[in-house]
Amino acid sequence: MALFIDVEVDQAVASDASLAAKLAEVCPVDIFAQKADGTLQINDDRLDECVLCQLCMNAAPQGSVRVIKLYDGNAVLGPV
């Protein structure tokens, strides 16, 4: 159970194999992976390692990946 970070991904992105592959590739701390069927898997045990780099947000259509700071009143990470 993550204490500090949560990530939400729109269903359209999560079910798109190419976007899922891209998210798995860009995340430096392995929060994302691909399931056997190509869809997106979010590794809950890696969420707290998030370094707020926004690479996932930039890899997917704007607003479709949301990084939530649980320690900051559930603030959604916005573009720098």
């Binding site: 204490l3 707020l52 900051d72």
Partner: protein, 409 residues
Amino acid sequence: MRFFEYEAKEIVRKGGIPTSKGGFATTSEEARARAEEVAGAVVVKSQVLTGGRMKAGGVQFADTPQAAATHSEAILALAINGHDPRGVLVDERVAVKQEYYAGVVWDGIRKQPVMLFSDMGGIDIEEVAEKHPDHVGRGHFSTIHPFSEFQAKQVIAAVGLSGSELNRLVPIVTRLAKLFLRFDMTLAEINPLAQLEDGSFVAVDAHMEMENEARPRQQALLSELGVGDEETRQAREPTEFELAGEAVDAQDHRGVAGNVTEFDGNLGLVIGAGGGSLTLFDAVRAHGGRPANYCEIGGNPSVAKACGLAKLVLSKPGVDKIAVMMSIVSNTRVDIVARGVIKACIELGHDPAEKIAIFRIPGAWEEEGFKILERYGIEYADRSVSLHEAARRAVEKIQGAAATPPASA
């Protein structure tokens, strides 16, 4: 890391310096064989990484191979200062005309090696330096510029040697200095460096210590000497707590969260950054605190590593609270360390606000870090609070009362 005498002599040999004949043995039969190879009187010396061998009976003289075997059997069974011997060194007993000392040691203040030479060998160089300073020549040299024989010549001549003695000694001391640099030593000492009746010189005893961090690049030497990775060669064997710290650090490549040393206090320390660990450890003690450990954290470890280190420290029997303190960080993220130590508290069933006496890490991503700390009600300090003041607050908190005034301002 320290080397046994038999290894040190092998390193001296590799450096091209003549040594007395002899060899290492782990059984009395091997010792007999070594003595037969020497074909003369020998000295049998216990191979332990501690002092006081002679006094403890760990050094014996033998005129025959049988006597060498008998002595080695006794020495092999003799623990010295709690150290069981690795084996014995069976060494030729040379006819010495004069004993000298030659050494190179790292000078941590000048940040350069210093070469030492004395015409009073066979005894501690510290004692000679104190009682007979005019009998010790010394000279620093660069680790960058090529070493010149002239530098060795100056140091040897400083104690009044000249002529053929000087000419014979210069290459030996030069080779010792080069060996020091080549093998990343912190100490390379030949004592005694014996002058024989024919005027030649041989290293009779040697003491070598290598920079621990150099082990990876000195693998060829270590393999040749048969020193395994599992041999720490430290002043004492690591405790379970310290080994667990190494395991935390080894769990991934990001940053450092380890190098833990165990103490018996009640204040756990998660400290680091550019010498900050040592400063903070001293500051805690100066304010009357009792550290439970020393450690190093930095280089942007992962949350899991920071968490693992904090969990280890918090789980140590007798630890009431932890102080998380660093000097100003640029390559370590405040928020990542904050997440790690808070996660450790929560996963161990503690209230972070209760267990973390103070969090004083200013620097990269501190705004995010401070938000996290505020969320969990943890006392934190920014860069306007000095390391000493942060240590004082931590000690005050753990003592539940005003801390002892600092030993020095």
